[in-house]
């Protein structure tokens, strides 16, 4: 079920699928898992798409494919109307600046041996943007942006709290000035207070920089507050994909209704949204 919205989309995928196979020593596949298939999505500049579903529905896999961290088995991905899957690794390098991923667990996403400044400036280092000094200054600026004190820049991830580590991860993701951020359950590992802070940060950033977000989440309450469009995933397939208001008001698919049923009553959701 595709949603057609007038105007070019900044990120579009068609018929995307990913299969994991564990091959035996002699090349015969023993074990095949279809993470997701037949996924069609389109998202427009400056909006937030939320992909919801239970754990294990293939959402993380989809997130990684979108962020070009894994290669899908089939389908096409268009970033700013350019087909990216047929590019070589070298050609992809500039494209990677447009889209970045925030991981669920910030601790594992940061190299424990590096300092915060080194972590944040790493994308600049890899893409060889600016001089070492400028990279460092940029890192400090980004820290300020996400609400961290630049004095903490020489500290290692161990010395920060969970919420702060996620901020570092966000700062790092912003280093290359992407247009699209994919957040793979980025808030799930945080407590309520931290979630609120990060959400505020994210919405400010979106407003300032006209960012596009793809939120992967199993938390419908969260999604209800922030999403413009919602795609519901079940067992690796998108079962419903429409404007958020529409979805919450008039869920079509039975699975969507099941999900919503487990949440708070409709009225409060709609009330939250209109606020």
């Amino acid at each position: 079920m595709t949603v057609t919205v007038p105007g070019a989309s900044i990120l579009e995928v068609r018929h995307l699928g990913k299969e994991y196979a564990q091959t035996s020593r002699f090349g015969r596949s023993e074990f095949r898992v279809q993470a997701f298939e037949k996924v069609n999505l389109a998202i427009h500049d400056g909006l937030t798409l939320a992909i919801v579903g239970e754990s294990g529905a293939g959402k993380s896999s989809l997130a990684r494919c979108l962020a070009l961290l894994e290669r899908p088995s089939c389908g096409e991905i268009y970033i700013e109307s350019k087909s990216v899957l047929d590019l070589t690794q070298d050609e992809l390098v500039p494209i990677r600046r447009r889209i970045q991923l925030i991981f669920q667990d910030p601790t594992s996403a940061l190299n424990p041996r590096l300092s915060a400044a080194e972590i944040i400036s790493e994308p600049l280092l890899i893409q060889r943007i600016e001089t070492k000094k400028q990279q460092r200054d940029q890192a400090l600026e980004l820290m300020r942006l996400v609400g961290l004190s630049p004095d903490a820049s020489p500290k290692r991830p161990l010395e920060f709290s969970g919420g702060q580590r996620q901020r570092i991860a966000i700062a790092r993701a912003l280093a290359l000035e992407p247009k699209i951020l994919v957040l793979d359950e980025a808030l799930s590992s945080l407590d309520r207070a931290n979630q609120e802070h990060i959400l505020l940060l994210l919405s400010n950033l979106q407003a300032e920089r006209s960012l596009t977000y793809v939120h992967i989440s199993h938390d419908l309450e969260l999604v209800a507050r922030i999403a413009d469009t919602v795609a519901v995933m079940r067992s690796g397939q998108i079962v419903e994909h429409k404007d958020a208001n529409e979805l919450f008001a008039r869920p079509e698919h039975s699975y969507t209704r099941q999900l919503l049923h487990a949440m708070q009553p409709m009225e409060t959701i709609l009330l939250d949204r209109s606020a």
């Binding site: 020593r25 990677r96 594992s108 940061l110 994308p123």
Partner: protein, 342 residues
């Protein structure tokens, strides 16, 4: 953490002391390693005394001379005493072929001899030979260990990072090498070497073979680390920034492995030193006149030496603190470098 610090420091001090003494063997040794004294074969260690036969206390330690008591055997002669002087001029030597000197830490005037570990069948001072022998044996161990671990790190990194058939083939090779009884293989290679080659060539060949045999275990360990490091999210993230494989290996994966690599080197050095000593002991390592700890001990294969001249065991006994130091250091390193996980 504190306990490991102490272990590491103790080990490091012992090691440093040993290695410095061996490196500057010329300085610490009163005699050259080949200086023979046919009149004094198999002499027990010269005791250092502070109180002489008359009961007088001297500040400067001295050794007694030796005198033929008429039956051909030498006896300790307490009428002749030779004071030990420090920083004396003696045999010329060089350090690494660069620094030439005649200065020794201690010595006695001729015809006195100060042999702290006794002498061997040719009257050569065992203490000096121990220090010089250390140059050969320790160097062999160090080079071989460095070689093994370097090779192991290379193979392990390649196998772990690229996976697939590269991994399969490399690990199978590793299994092959682990299955080899290495001492036997060493002999096979030694058998292959012609008898008429220079000692340096023997030394280098031995060291290279030792190094080449032992890569399998470090490789396996490094591979494990690389495998787990490869999947860590921060490596995936770096890939997302457009990092090349080389960068990933260099910046993120290898530092995780460096701890293991260093520990492996520390563990392997004593093993390889022992291998060289064993080989030379059996007459298959470096040969005379190049000294090695093995050649110091090889005389013990003769029964009468074994049962009568106890000081010939001393070089072997001195190996114990050396190995202890290495194992201490390795233990401490292993504790210190447990994989960093949050």
């Amino acid at each position: 953490m504190l306990k490991h610090r102490r272990k590491l420091v103790a080990g490091a001090i012992l090691l440093a002391g040993f290695h410095v003494a061996v490196l500057l063997a010329g300085f610490f040794a009163p005699y050259g390693y080949a200086t023979q004294n046919r009149e004094m074969p198999y002499m027990p260690p010269s005791g250092l005394h502070l109180v002489d036969a008359q009961g007088k206390v001297h500040l400067r330690p001295f050794v007694y001379g030796w005198r033929d008591d008429g039956s051909g055997a030498l006896k300790l002669d307490s009428t002749q005493s030779y004071p030990v002087h420090f920083f004396v001029q003696g045999w010329p030597y060089n350090v690494g072929g660069l620094v030439h000197s005649r200065m020794h830490l201690f010595g006695v005037a001729e015809p006195g001899r100060v042999c702290l570990l006794g002498t061997d069948g040719f009257g050569r001072d065992q203490f000096s030979r121990f220090l010089y022998g250390g140059q050969v044996s320790l160097l062999a161990g160090l080079i071989a260990a460095a070689l093994s671990v370097s090779l192991g790190v290379l193979v392990g990194a390649l196998a772990g990072f690229y996976g697939g058939w590269i991994d399969e083939t490399l690990m199978r090779c590793g299994e092959l090498f682990l299955a080899l009884p290495w001492l036997y293989l060493l002999f096979a290679v030694r058998a292959a070497m012609p008898l008429q080659i220079t000692q340096w060539q023997v030394f280098l060949l031995l060291v290279s073979v030792l190094g080449l045999i032992g890569w399998a275990r470090p490789a396996r360990l490094v591979r494990g680390i690389v495998l787990s490091a490869k999947e860590r999210n921060f490596v995936v993230a770096a890939r997302g920034f457009g990092a090349s494989n080389g960068y990933l290996i260099r910046r993120h994966v290898m530092p995780q492995a460096s701890g293991v690599a260093l520990t492996q080197v520390t563990l392997l050095i004593p093993q390889y030193v022992l291998a060289e000593v064993t080989l030379t002991f059996l007459g298959l390592g470096v040969s005379e006149p190049m000294p090695s700890w093995g050649s110091l001990l090889s005389a013990l294969q003769q029964y009468y030496v074994l049962s009568s001249y106890w000081w010939m065991f001393l070089p072997a006994a001195l190996l114990i603190p050396l190995f202890l130091a290495y194992y201490l250091a390795a233990d401490a390193l292993q504790e210190h470098w447990k994989p960093v996980s949050l």
